[in-house]
């Protein structure tokens, strides 16, 4: 797997982790664990009146029971209640089978002190059971250990160097047509492209890899813009992109998260039913479009003249 493909999967996993809640997140967790530990991890699902008996997955070799929690908003009090209820609910059914109890959650920035205290207290009161929590990092580690075919099954197809080389104008036109167009007045200052723009924006290595991958074909986008019979169509597309970026910026997202959302806005991370070659070319075309728009739009910060980056 080349560096670009790895970077793509890390970015896509982060985006998926942040986007999915509730059952969707639990489904993702089950998909990852089943492929990471084939024949060892057992998914469970609610069964009639019995429900799932507070078991969202079991890893036999490690005698580990998982409880997955991915609310829309995580409140400390609700989370503490959930942990205590789920742990207490699991004991009557599974006590003889597990030595480790894992609270798997979707809090990207970690758990608050109340929740941490609850977990520590639980561990202290049940000295024969190791109480742990899995967040983003733990699940990412599982994802990155997957074989490529399993990654494709869980997260879709990623562009590789060959797919980028094979991107043609027709692929880019399809991508450009998915960007919403709004009627806006034309007019942005002509600014030279900032060479240090990528470094200025504290983008992670994965994001940098993604943009640099797209830059290999971004010049094709300029040609397509110049070929539009409506001379203002390019400006409308760019303005839509600019508006989306400003909207994301106002939400206070990190640069990496903004890039990820812009990938999705541009039609990337698609979960369509096209075959691998077509899907890879589509993702590569999205990357090329995004790289072009990154270079030429008023999005992300440009280094000031003379600033060392």
């Amino acid at each position: 797997m080349d560096a670009h493909t790895q970077a793509f999967y890390r970015l896509k996993f982060q985006n998926t982790f942040l986007r999915l809640k509730g059952n969707g997140f639990q489904e993702l967790f089950g998909d990852i664990m089943s492929r990471r530990y084939p024949g060892d991890f057992v998914r469970t699902r609610p069964w009639g009146a019995h429900g799932d008996r507070k078991n969202d997955g079991y890893l036999r070799s490690e005698r580990t029971l998982f409880q997955v929690y991915a609310p829309n908003e995580m409140s400390a009090s609700e989370t503490v209640k959930k942990i205590e209820a789920d742990f207490a609910g699991a004991l009557p059914h599974w006590k003889d089978f597990f030595a480790i109890w894992v609270f798997a959650h979707n809090a990207m920035d970690g758990l608050g002190p109340d929740v941490l205290q609850c977990l520590l207290d639980l561990g202290r009161r049940n000295s024969d059971i190791s109480v742990r929590q899995w967040g983003y990092e733990a699940l990412e580690e599982c994802v990155l250990a997957l074989r490529q075919q399993d990654l494709e099954a869980v997260l879709g197809y990623a562009p590789d160097a060959r797919a980028v080389n094979n991107v043609r104008s027709a692929d880019l036109i399809k991508v450009l047509e998915t960007i919403a167009q709004t009627d806006v007045a034309a007019g942005s200052d002509i600014k030279p492209v900032s060479v240090d723009k990528i470094n200025k924006n504290s983008l992670s290595d994965d994001s940098v890899h993604y943009i640099r991958m797209g830059q290999r074909k971004s010049s094709l986008v300029r040609g397509i813009f110049n070929s539009f019979t409506d001379p203002l169509r390019a400006e409308r597309i760019v303005q839509s992109f600019r508006t989306k970026y400003m909207d994301l910026k106002l939400q206070g997202l990190t640069s990496d998260r903004m890039l990820s959302e812009l990938i999705r806005f541009t039609g990337g991370y698609s979960e369509g039913k096209s075959g691998p070659v077509e899907a890879q070319r589509h993702e590569a075309a999205v990357a090329a479009t995004l790289a072009f728009l990154f270079e030429s739009c008023d999005i992300f910060e440009d280094p000031k003249t003379g600033e060392e980056v």
Binding site: S188, I190, T229, P231, A234, V238
Partner: protein, 83 residues
């Protein structure tokens, strides 16, 4: 649309097209003849963008709005500056 922008090439801006049309109006022309002359002019230079008839008409509107062309008796003419 009048001036070039980051994503509107100079030769597609109305300012540039207007200048090109004024040059071609060195002698009075009908609208069709001017449209034909503009296309021939652009074909000679590979780097020039193709523009649509709508955009050509917008270019004429721009010149008319500036008061630098007239349209009388079926002919477009450059308005000469008063000395």
């Amino acid at each position: 649309m009048i001036l070039p922008t980051k994503h509107l090439a100079t030769d597609r801006s109305l300012l540039y097209i207007g200048g090109e049309l004024l040059e071609l109006l060195a002698r009075p022309r009908t609208v069709s003849s001017l449209w034909h002359a503009l296309n021939e002019n652009r074909k000679k230079r590979e780097e020039m963008s193709v523009i649509t008839y709508d955009w050509f008409i917008l270019g004429l509107d721009f010149l008319y709005g500036l008061g630098v062309v007239t349209f009388t008796e079926g002919l477009l003419r450059r308005k000469e500056a008063h000395k």
